[in-house]
Symmetry: C2
């Protein structure tokens, strides 16, 4: 059976180019998986220093291919070279950060309880789960796709990766995986530790494959559902780590609005239009005190007036955006912004819908995520109204509070109100922009993510690809190296209850 | 609607006693949950030292009520006073160990990334998930029931608990929760931070309650299924941490069998009959080299010959045991042991089924868990046969290898073979007996447990009741105390990438 050539589409013009690659067949998938498993054995047995060098080599290869990768990504996503160069910098930084995490060694959680009276010697460490399937997002063709955090964090801790190419940027995927594989070979590893598969139905086949041990996913709830159904049909259950997008409430106290309402409105405009509104951390609902709302909205209106329309990532995203914003424009509620759609490619204009707290109580769809450059401003009367609206917002990746510079008891109450439903609290800032660092948590409760204990950004992203293993009475020479008495890897360990830092 | 009085049944005589307590109604459940939530606010805001003192006070109250608790548990489970005193010691030790974990503070994973060039200040720590529902096991009426590890680990990190009383030992549950509540009050906490509910249908209502945030469960796969279906119907998904039992393969190499086959056979007999075979870590399948099997089995036969019948926990467990062992006795395969059932109460005799590796390939049911004092001895010809059998064993809480004292390459290969499917590897020992310590992992892949990343015993048992929260740019005074710059709690932290131990 010969399969279709993969098409690469320019969202600015809808021009389609056929790539020299076909949809992956199930026989090919079996081969890919077998190759990845074999490559994974070498990877899992490599020591942390070797895996850190591997990550560094992959990052260098991405850097070498920067111009081709950014060019393809710009043609396929219309995100623009400046943003895409920045995104590639982020990818490269992520490989570097994860190399630090691996060399640090604390992620292994090496723990030794020596034998005591009537008690056996027990040792514990985190071991790789096996092969990981990765599904990237349309909105970050680099940092949350082939060379993204899921791929890098899985390889960092010894898991080979098979990536399902994103249909919105297949050429970018192809160039990125070539760089990663060249980097692997240059570091003395097999190029099969990261592989790309293509096609509409291959995603379900991939997550259903008996040799896949975990799935990392960034994308829509609908796509996640289809994969989760395929996983539910497996004989051996595997974890699905999905980051599914989010409403990201932002609330401004009266004190903050009085002090710097104009500045916050301009900051909000920059944030919800960043990447043409296609961030999972976009502030989708912004709560502003009634008495300051008119001025706040006028600043937004002035900012929107000067803006050019922007291209969305693909035709489906444009269709959803136009449908939603058209229904909002046609409602009785104030709409700030131009009409949509525009004729050129996926181009749309940014906008703001203005509603009252009582509207939200009547129409929960106002709290749904709308991908693209739009936010809903909710005017609230009392602090109690604001807290009620926040309680109705679905669990989110982030929640933002803008407080006054002095003592602001309203802000303290709002902080307590948003804490249960958010993975990250942002204070006097904007949620777009996710720092890659040790403390970052980029996750949240359902529907924002499938497992609130895990993150797709930051040092602890590696935890998704690890499981604990205890070993009782195993002779020193047969123990995993990190648990041997002499600590040849020099990893930090907990020994008989006390932390022993790196030697 | 008046509900039924709860019955307490003696498995030795089937004598039933009516307790002065009724099945919990759904209105009462709402009250219990509301009370637990309120108590949880105080608990979550307590500092680690206060929570450690609370655990200590609860342990003291258990100690004070030891005689009543052990007496009731013996009448309801027939496990015998010696075992039950030991189990209460374990409970008390568990409260003490978790107090150490809390005071140590590393479980908070406090992490600070100070602001850098263009980078915000980001801080992360683990926060309690909210109210926890606990379902204990029949086979550990103390250590895996009301005063067990799930309850203790949840309270340790700030989560109030509602326990569903086990129908096989309701009186024991009642006495234990009274002690825990008295201990809570003595430590200055509300007695509503741990509550007991009773009844057949209340378990599903409890896990379906919107204010429950996580579930800890130890018991059968069938009971777990019913609860998981109730959870799947919730509007807000919550995690279900189930420990469901396990086959626990044990394999003896030729070298080990030649050196000390008799000793291993006697050790295996003690292990699979411990607690009358009612351990989730019971070795259910034991692989012995063909050439040593006849002698190995003769040692088992001699050991079994001298054994008195023992009582199982309840009538349902006896019925399942008798059905399974009767079909085995009636098969063409060698059966070592007396006939079952015995007439007195739940009494049964221990036994061993002897099969060949080829039998296992034909009949996968030989690898199912059978609760009670029985193990399946599998005679294997080649090492490859042993590895094939091990590959067919479902994922287990433990896997045990008995190796020769010198170089034993077979043992090394078997170690590699059992590693992917086990949560804990035991070397030259027996899997029954789970040390309560920092390094213990008591968990495994499906079907042994619902989430291979978590454990129900050991320091990391607390992770099930925590989720990460990141805070970006939040003023020092509003930060959770563990993240404030001055570190007033003195917890170990990672600051700008480097571990900073306790001051």
């Amino acid at each position: 059976m010969s399969s279709k050539l993969v098409q690469s589409i320019d969202p600015r013009t809808f021009e389609a180019v056929e790539l020299d690659v076909r949809s992956t067949t199930s026989a090919e998938l079996d081969e890919v998986v077998a190759g990845a498993l074999e490559a994974g054995e070498q990877l899992a047995s490599a020591n942390p220093r070797e895996r850190a060098d591997l990550l560094g080599s992959m990052a260098s290869a991405l850097q070498d291919d920067r111009s081709d990768i950014v060019g393809a990504a710009d043609r396929e996503t219309a995100l623009g070279p400046a943003r895409l160069h920045g995104e590639l910098d982020r990818c490269i930084g992520q490989f570097g950060h994860l190399a630090d995490v691996v060399v640090d060694g604390a992620y292994l959680e090496a723990t030794i309880d020596h034998a005591g009276a009537d008690q056996p010697d027990v040792r514990r460490l985190m071991v790789p789960v096996g092969m990981v399937a990765v599904f990237g997002a349309s909105n970050f063709p680099l940092a949350f796709s082939v060379p993204g955090g899921d791929t890098a964090s899985a390889i960092a801790v010894g898991c080979p990766v098979v990536v399902k190419a994103h249909p919105s940027h297949p050429q970018t995927c192809l160039l990125a995986v070539r760089a990663l594989r060249r980097g692997a070979v240059a570091a003395g590893f097999s190029d099969r530790l990261v592989t790309l598969v293509f096609g509409e139905s291959i995603g379900r086949a991939l997550v259903g494959h008996e040799d896949v041990s975990a799935v990392g996913f960034t994308g829509s709830a609908r796509a996640a559902d289809a994969l989760q159904r395929a996983i539910a049909a497996r004989a051996r259950p595997i974890p699905f780590y999905g980051e599914l997008g989010s409403v990201n409430p932002l609330v401004v106290t009266s004190a903050a609005a009085a002090e710097r309402g104009d500045e916050i409105a301009r900051g909000l405009l920059d944030s919800f239009t960043l990447g043409n509104g296609q961030f999972c951390t976009k502030p989708g609902v912004s709560l502003v005190p009634e008495e300051h709302a008119s001025r706040f909205v006028s600043v937004l209106r002035a900012g929107l007036a000067g803006r050019e329309p922007g291209f969305l990532l693909n035709e489906a995203i444009k269709a959803a955006f136009v449908e939603r914003t058209t229904s909002w424009r046609e409602s009785a509620r104030p709409w700030i912004g131009d009409e949509n759609p525009h004729t050129a490619g996926t181009s749309v204009s940014a906008g703001v819908l203005v509603v009252d707290a009582t509207d939200v109580q009547r129409d929960a769809s106002l709290l749904d995520e709308c991908f693209g450059p739009v936010t809903v401003v909710v005017r609230y009367g009392s602090l109690g109204d604001a807290i009620s609206v926040l309680a109705a917002v679905p669990a989110s990746l982030t929640a933002t509070v803008h407080a006054g510079s002095g003592s602001d008891p309203d802000a303290v109450r709002l902080l307590a109100a948003v804490m249960p439903g958010a993975g990250r609290i942002v204070w006097n800032g904007y949620p777009t922009g996710v720092r890659v660092s040790w403390a970052m948590h980029h996750g949240g409760g359902s529907p924002a993510a499938t497992n609130p204990q895990h993150t797709s950004v930051g040092a602890t992203a590696v935890r998704r690809w690890l499981r604990p293993l205890a070993l009782q009475g195993v002779p020193d020479a047969l123990l995993p190296v990190a648990l041997r008495e002499a600590n040849p890897l020099g990893v930090p360990r907990r020994v008989d209850g006390a932390m022993v830092p790196r030697p």
